[in-house]
């Protein structure tokens, strides 16, 4: 039992990331308000990045910027996750902007940001 808790605390970032992923995913899926849907998407993406970044971390090592001519791989953390997350953040902000633009246009047409209402109105128009 003690071991289990030790591991729980040790894996804190990964567990937090998974729970936040679930939270974000649920809000992207279920939230009616488009703005909150977008916040849900952002939380989901950043939780994945947190997971990835925590995979790169190694206890007692420093950021991968070569200092004082030390080239030993034992001194620095894993640089790959940082690079991937950097790519991911930019993708995520781009998608956010697109999503928000769609929201603004839909509000201009239907005067609401409630997704279910918008869908009902669209279906009503089609009939």
């Amino acid at each position: 039992m003690k071991n289990f808790f030790a591991e729980l605390i040790n894996d804190r970032f990964m567990i937090a990331a998974v729970l936040l992923f679930g939270l974000g995913f649920m809000n992207l899926l279920l939230q009616k308000n488009l703005i909150k849907k977008i916040i849900g998407f952002n939380v989901m993406d950043s939780s994945i990045f947190l997971f990835l970044a925590s995979q790169g971390y190694i206890n007692g090592r420093i950021a991968p910027i070569i200092t004082n001519g030390v080239f030993d791989a034992e001194v620095y953390i894993n640089p790959i996750p940082s690079g991937l997350v950097l790519t991911g953040i930019v993708v995520s902000v781009s998608v956010t902007a697109f999503f928000l633009a769609l929201t603004v246009r839909l509000y201009g047409i239907y005067k609401t940001v409630d997704f279910d209402e918008i869908m009902l109105l669209i279906n009503k128009e089609a009939e």
């Binding site: 970032f13 703005i35 916040i39 952002n42 790169g56 971390y57 902000v93």
Partner: protein, 84 residues
């Protein structure tokens, strides 16, 4: 000791995430979301990824927050605009 700070930050993340989803007013949701990004950037600094911390602070907490604000203005979810 570090572990305790990190746990506090993680709890803060959860509070921010849940708060953003539960808050009634969109403006508050967005502000809480921005603080979520800020905490995330602190966590990344603790995880020895300064590149990510700078980028998240500039992009996540800065520019996307501004985009959210303008969107809120466009959808009339901010009160007290100047035409009143």
């Amino acid at each position: 000791m570090n572990v305790i700070y990190e746990l506090i930050l993680i709890v803060f993340l959860f509070v921010c995430a849940i708060g953003a989803f539960l808050s009634e007013r969109l403006l508050i949701a967005v502000v809480i979301f921005m603080s979520y990004s800020l905490v995330m950037s602190v966590i990344w600094a603790l995880l020895q990824s300064p590149d990510l911390a700078i980028t998240e602070a500039a992009v996540g907490a800065g520019v996307s927050g501004i985009l959210f604000f303008i969107t809120l203005k466009r959808i009339h979810a901010l009160k007290g605009t100047k035409d009143e």
